[in-house]
């Protein structure tokens, strides 16, 4: 671990990524301490202000402090990203290993399921889901989980197939090791490391998707501050003030840079062949 950190710190972009990620996570976690204002407190008189000493990023149409909203929005973003990616990873890993290690017919069925899900445009699936259960943080998370499962599942399947053909798997089987133990003890640890890197690089995509859903009015419930809803507010207010869009974009760009560079750096460290068979 320390070794990895040390090696990342030797790669300037990796270091930049690490710093950004730490910075953003810390600012989201400590939003309650850092944020100068209540993110949902209205102040209609001071609405639509530009950046000033009082409001670092200005205020939105309800006079709420954008800087505070951006900080709190980080919590939403990270919540969405971590919960949905963790769940998608969990299910994707399970199904992917099953497909990769199981019998051919099961593999075929799971792959068919993956392809079917993937064949929907994400937004169409999101629309249908939102229409079904209404827009909320949970819906966003659910949509992301379902649409990400095939991606991870496929990677895991390919990895599992590769690992399966490795000699050590045969060695374990010859020893009489059960399939579940092989999957759990011998394959999972080999699959999960690279996958987490892949997933970390997906975090920005997930956050951007949340922004997209907010744009279509299908994001989180008001008044929860999220980067997506800030961006969406910014979109409607674009002719009044550019600041909400800027405020919403800054963390998005930073977190993307952060996770991508950190992920790439880790990937180069661990397995350069990772992205090949997505």
């Amino acid at each position: 671990m320390m070794d990895a950190l040390h090696r990342i710190s030797r790669d300037p972009l990796g270091l930049l990524g690490l710093i950004l990620v730490v910075l953003i996570i810390a600012s989201a976690l400590l939003a309650g301490l850092i944020a100068p204002y209540d993110p949902i407190k209205l102040n209609i008189i001071d609405r639509l202000q530009g950046p000033s000493v009082d409001h670092l990023l200005g205020t939105d149409q309800l006079g709420r402090d954008l800087f505070s909203r951006v900080l709190y929005g980080g919590q939403v973003a990270l919540k969405v990203a971590f919960i949905s990616i963790a769940a998608a990873l969990g299910i994707g890993v399970f199904l992917g290993m099953l497909a990769g290690f199981g019998p051919k017919w099961l593999d075929n069925i799971i792959m068919l399921f993956f392809d079917t899900i993937r064949s929907f445009p994400t937004v169409m699936f999101a629309l249908a889901t939102v229409a079904l259960v209404g827009p909320s943080l949970g819906t966003v998370i659910a949509v992301i989980i379902v649409t990400s499962i095939p991606t991870y599942g496929r990677v895991v399947r390919t990895q599992t197939l590769t690992i399966k053909s490795n000699e050590f798997v045969m060695a374990e089987r010859a020893m009489g090791v059960s399939t579940t133990r092989i999957l759990r003890v011998h394959i999972l640890p080999n699959v999960i490391g690279p996958l987490i890197i892949l997933a970390s690089m997906d975090i920005p995509t997930v956050i951007a998707l949340e922004a997209g859903l907010s744009f279509l009015g299908m994001g989180v419930k008001p008044p929860t501050p999220s980067w997506g809803s800030i961006l969406n507010d910014g979109y409607t207010l674009i002719r009044n003030t550019p600041w909400p869009i800027i405020a919403g974009s800054i963390p998005l760009v930073l977190i993307t840079l952060g996770f991508t560079f950190l992920g790439e750096s880790l990937r180069d460290l661990i397995d350069p062949k990772l992205r090949k068979n997505v």
């Binding site: 209205l42 209404g134 827009p135 008044p223």
Partner: protein, 529 residues
């Protein structure tokens, strides 16, 4: 005189130069089938935005303003809305028209109004066909209710006829004859087409003909050379469906369209620094926006709670936050300028937390209560909901805002689709409106419960008044009746009226537009400046 502004022609040349200079930018080949070139110089083209796309060219099936904007250009009516700030009408196909008694309207058509496509001259027979087919049950026209109590049209002579109602129906002058169901079509052509048409039309009689519909792209109208009223002012009219208001404004600024409604949020900026060569005009609007409360919901059944909510909502704040100060608070559901508009509401627009708390105490909810507010997921609604949420919190009412996409939202109160209507507590709603008060009150009668009356408000007196007012021909009495009805709604606590919004429009000075008093464009009335 050129209608396309010179600036824009310049833009176009510049654009082409750039394209030629940069090469094809990686795009190859065109899609073959395209034949016409309509960029010919010297054509007068009006380019205007509509907020949605064409759905039908059949008056019996047209769906509201979007279709009507097109149909009113290609069909003739007995009377047309008069452009300007005051509601009124001009004669169109009718040479004369008069209300002879409560249930009879006599008209005489102008001679020589020709239908295109060789379908001959417009006669009273065509009027009869046009109006009666709408109320014919077999046709299943969605617009039948607009004709109210219409019974029949009697053909008196080639050009003369009488419109006969079962009961008095004053709205015929406001929302029937000059509106969707007032379009006169060629009986001949329609019967040849099988009795109804879709997005094409076999024959027209207005200043323009329907030239082409490019779905989700534009509708093109071309000058009708045979129009009885002389030469229409434009060679072509291009109507662009653009739902996003930012885009619409950008399209205007970049010169792609000549006239559009702009968002209320832009009004301030546009006023402060108006784009060159253009005019911004503000019109009131007929829309009405209110917060409804479901009187049958277990929690909301207590009138004190409903009254508390009424007092928690600060309309001026909403006007600022959601409408950028470009709209004013409303007193009810009938907009200023229409019969029945109230000067003042019973509950003042400003919030009164103290009073709200009193009502809460009376309802035994001093410790606070949590409620839900259902909202359609459009920006202004979401903002409004957040303001309401914030002010309600001050009185101890915790509001959970539920967003819905349009399909789900519009079925919320539908009692034929499951039990969801029972869960409605607070709902932020916005209905559109035609310029007759009956159009507004019709949704709040007992029989509309579970259809459009989502508050499930019910009062026999209201129902009685609604029926009577519709048939009242004395305008001052009508006015009084509608005012009373709105007071009853407000006093029930089930309604907190917010606003009628506003319609700011912007147009290029190269054209002379024509708007209804509510700011909707009367495209056939547009001329070049």
């Amino acid at each position: 005189m050129k209608v396309r502004p010179t600036v824009q022609t310049g833009v176009n040349q510049k654009r082409r130069q750039i394209l030629k200079a940069t090469g094809a930018i990686g795009v190859a080949a065109t899609t073959g089938a395209f034949s016409e070139v309509i960029y010919a110089q010297g054509k007068k083209i009006l380019k205007i935005r509509a907020y949605g796309d064409l759905r039908s060219l059949d008056p019996a099936f047209s769906q509201g303003v979007i279709d009507e904007e097109i149909q009113s250009c290609i069909y003739s009516k007995l009377i047309q809305y008069k452009p300007g700030r005051e509601w009124g009408y001009d004669l169109d196909a009718a040479e004369s028209i008069e209300q002879v008694d409560a249930t009879h309207i006599k008209f005489k058509l102008k001679a020589g109004i020709m239908f295109t496509g060789g379908h001959g001259e417009m006669t009273a027979e065509d009027v009869k066909y046009s109006f009666e087919r709408i109320i014919n049950k077999d046709l299943e026209s969605t617009n039948a209710p607009d004709w109210g109590t219409l019974r029949e049209v009697i053909v008196d002579s080639k050009y003369e006829g009488t419109i006969v109602f079962d009961d008095a129906y004053p709205p015929a002058w406001n929302i029937a004859m000059p509106y969707i169901v007032g379009n006169i079509i060629s009986k001949n052509a329609w019967q040849a087409a099988g009795g109804k048409v879709d997005t094409t039309t076999p024959s027209v009689s207005g200043p323009y003909t329907h030239k082409e519909w490019q779905p989700k792209q534009k509708t093109i109208l071309a000058r009708n050379p045979d129009w009885h009223g002389g030469d229409a002012p434009f060679d072509e009219i291009h109507i662009f469906p653009i739902d996003d208001e930012n885009t619409a404004q950008i399209a205007f600024e970049s010169g792609d369209i000549d006239c559009t409604r702009v968002s209320l949020g832009s009004v301030g900026n546009l006023k402060a620094s108006p784009p060159e060569n253009s005019t911004l005009e503000e019109y009131p609007s007929l829309f009405y926006v209110w917060v409804g409360m479901n009187v049958e919901n277990e929690k909301m059944a207590d009138i004190n709670l409903r009254k508390a909510v009424q007092h928690c909502i600060d309309v001026p704040s909403i006007m600022q936050a959601s409408y950028f100060g470009a709209a004013s608070p409303s007193t009810g559901i009938i907009a200023p300028g229409l019969i029945g508009n109230r000067a003042k509401s019973n509950v003042p627009p400003e919030m009164n937390i103290a009073k709200a708390k009193e009502y809460l105490a009376a309802a035994g909810m001093s410790d606070g209560v949590s409620l839900t507010l259902d909202v359609l997921n459009k920006a202004a609604n979401v903002t409004t909901a957040q303001v309401i949420q914030a002010t309600c919190a001050e009185a101890g009412i915790t509001l959970e805002v539920n967003l819905h996409e349009s399909g789900a939202f519009w079925s919320l109160g539908d009692s034929s689709a499951g039990e969801r209507y029972k869960d409605i507590q607070l709902i932020l709603n916005r209905y559109s409106m035609a310029p007759d008060p009956s159009y507004a009150t019709a949704w709040f009668v007992t029989s509309q419960k579970g259809i459009w009356n989502w508050e499930r408000y019910s009062d026999p007196e209201f129902d009685r008044l609604e029926a009577a007012a519709k048939a009242e021909t004395d305008n001052s009495k009508r006015d009084e009746m509608y005012q009373t009805m709105q007071s009853m709604m407000e006093d029930s606590g089930a309604y907190r009226f917010l606003t009628h919004e506003a319609t700011p429009v912007i147009f290029r000075n190269t054209i002379k537009p024509a708007f209804r008093p509510d700011g909707l464009p009367l495209i056939r009335g547009f001329t070049s400046a």
